[in-house]
Amino acid sequence: MSTPAHAPRGKQHMDEPKITTDLIEAHGLKPDEYDRILEIIGREPTFTELGIFSAMWNEHCSYKSSKKWLRTLPTEGPQVICGPGENAGVVDIGDGQAVVFKMESHNHPSYIEPYQGAATGVGGILRDVFTMGARPIAAMNSLSFGEISHPKTRQLVHGVVEGVGGYGNCFGVPTVGGEVRFHAAYNGNCLVNAFAAGLADADKIFYSAASGVGMPVVYLGAKTGRDGVGGATMASAEFDESIEEKRPTVQVGDPFTEKRLMEATLELMATGAVISIQDMGAAGLTCSAVEMGDKGGLGVQLQLDDVPQREEAMTAYEMMLSESQERMLMVLRPEKEAEARAVFEKWDLDFAIVGETIAEDRFLILHGNDVKADLPLSKLSSAAPEYDRPWAPTEAPEPLDDVPGVDPIDALKALIGSPNYAAKQWVYEQYDTMVMADTVQTPGLGAGIVRVHGTDKHLAFTSDVTPRYVRANPVEGGKQAVAEAYRNLCAVGARPLATTDNLNFGNPEKPEIMGQFVGAIQGIGEACRVLDTPIVSGNVSLYNETDGQGILPTPTICAVGLIDGPEQAITGCARDGHVALLLGETQGHLGQSALLYEVFNREDGDAPHVDLEAERAHGEFIRANHEMIKACTDLADGGLALAAFEMAEAGGVGVQLDDGDMGQLFGEDQARYLIACNFDQAEALMIAAGRAGLPLKTVGKFTGSNVRMGGAEAPLSELAALYRGAFEAAVG
């Protein structure tokens, strides 16, 4: 392949729109960003080039508002094989094996077209994982919707849940955890954060950096259509009432193709044909080609006529910006071409050589005899704008006013009757939670657990954040998200290894939003440092606003932990006669609590503060004493009352909590766990805690068929019926 001799550099074609101020603005480029383009290329860009710059420089792909702060996060540790910057993070799990994981948002597309938006969100994150050479073994998702009474909410819940299930179930990955919350702040902007983890041999990880000049660039997977053109730009803008017009920018997923693409890619990798590989996600062909060239210090030349297309008369602009799903780009060892092609033919997938690596720093796009783009490749990412956006620290919240007294059973009913805290089986029974036959703990209570196939090791997964806390106090809220994830892993006996973050915020051009972002990052970073759970991958989603109304700041934290063998897992249930032990200090913190929100419709006070040293010590205590613990859960929203009820319900046994004080029951102090065990074990645990100087006390017992808190009491069966039925009653 060679450059046509007479094609002038950056020739403007008759069929392409003129570059005007409106066109530049429609591409989401600010005037100073356009000036930077002119400076880099020394001339007016072609239409295709403008599209390429807009794709590379939008917030979604360039992280231009967040980069400065993301650099402050801890990303290293002896367990980390590969931190942020690749498709997913890679963490050592011993025996030459690695877990590969990441979380990514698909918020805007899911609001516009819930089924496909959510489905392709799952598809995108699965692709990120198997692109690294890992077979996906677990998925989770964190979903935030508007209030139930909002006219769009039910439709979004149904569509998103069906989309998540529709894709993951067909692909064949078990969904083992997640979150679902409702709050008016998400009325105009739901959040769909999808997590996936895969398993690989630690010495067989595949990266995106191309190497070698003249190496074939191969297009793999599904054909390119016009779907998703401009998707990444759309995802980087605020919404207004015109969103319905944006529906065509949402991609359409085909999990059947993705399943075949995964099998073919893993087979291909085993042949030794792959030099580097990158999935086509946001901004498809553009982003993947630039990434591989940039990381390898090479240029890339593409001949678009060779791109497999499923629509007629596609332009260079459309092909470069299409976000058609289930596609990959690979740099191939030329001597392996026949073998590689045979693998893709076996799976009935496209395999097409569409270009080559070149020595010059050029991103050269040819279509027919025309040069459609000719740009300095390294500048597309390295020269992307980076902003130090002004930010205002969040003001310290007013202290909490008095909380009126309320019957504890009534308060518990308000919580478990709310879709926020009701059982979510309506959601997760629509997901295949057991495919691959290695699921040890399905979603419902605490972390999901899967076995590492063919070994005794287990991996535990959890997804956590309490957005109300983050809004009230971004630093403590950021810490709390990490701490809760840490606790959820410890509570099943897992050693927390690492985390991935999905940072969902409003418009970063507003100093108060940027202040939330900066504060949350600070808290997350501090917590990950102290708890030794580095951030190995992540995603930032900004501009989550509609008509100027921002969402609650929602930095979702997913954490992954390792359990060395089944005997170390804590997966039992509370039984009649078990003692209820509480590990951790209870001050009775009710600020920003579930009790305030669900019972009094109040969101005031400060978030609970997080003592990271206590988190660490308590987590280690649980793991060290797993043999004496029958069942364990962390205390989070809803405090001891909700945790004790959930544990009782799961075990089918009543519970009696001695202290009826609201702060003791519903306070959301951190670093706490509820433990169920028999009397002898309780004694041994008390001795162990005394020796370690940790606060462990008896708060009641599991017995009978009633839930009793202080003097208030109700039959477990009545509460369980409410808890099991409330979600479906609200959204079904």
């Binding site: 067909c170 629509q430 057991m434 691959m436």
Partner: protein
Amino acid sequence: MHAAVLVFPGSNCDRDLAVAFEKAGARVSMVWHKDTVLPDGIDIVGIPGGFSYGDYLRCGAIAANSPICGALRGHVDRGGFALGICNGFQVLTETRLLPGALRRNANLKYICKPVDLRVETADSAFTAGYSEGQEITVPIAHHDGNYFAADDTLRALNDQDRVAFRYVKNPNGSVEDIAGVLSENRRVLGMMPHPERMAEPAHGGTDGQAMFRALIEQLATA
């Protein structure tokens, strides 16, 4: 015993089924959908769960017309054993190797959860490890598991004791709570629930294990 597990594009319980056969003591060969013959000496063909051909057209319909299904039909016609689970059951009804059809679940949603089944007959190589009337817990995971058959077919199934399992509490609208049915010669079983997902202690239960163990025992002596 030598089992073949068919692999269609979109199968995703093929490995799970192979593991269950192997743990029970069988030798397993994975067989690609484009193959036209089964390996020599196959005692049983397993048709796994998943989304063969993306469930496009109708669940199991395209797989039923794939090259390997010609060989499957030959195997069954010669009196060979076959076990279809979930999508595999759908393939067996689409090939007409078993009667009836699987429609969309009555609630129109995908359902994945453990369910209780009642063993309706112990008179088959698949169910010999259970006793008639025994209740077992096995997960379901499907969108289209709502079994339907015409009245005369149902009468024949009942008269010939060919209903292998019924749901204790019907999750999907299946006619007469039917969860699995046997062929006339009792050598082909199709069922929506997944015994391979409840076949070792790590699964939280072992009620599915008895099926694989019984098969090994029965087929070894057959």
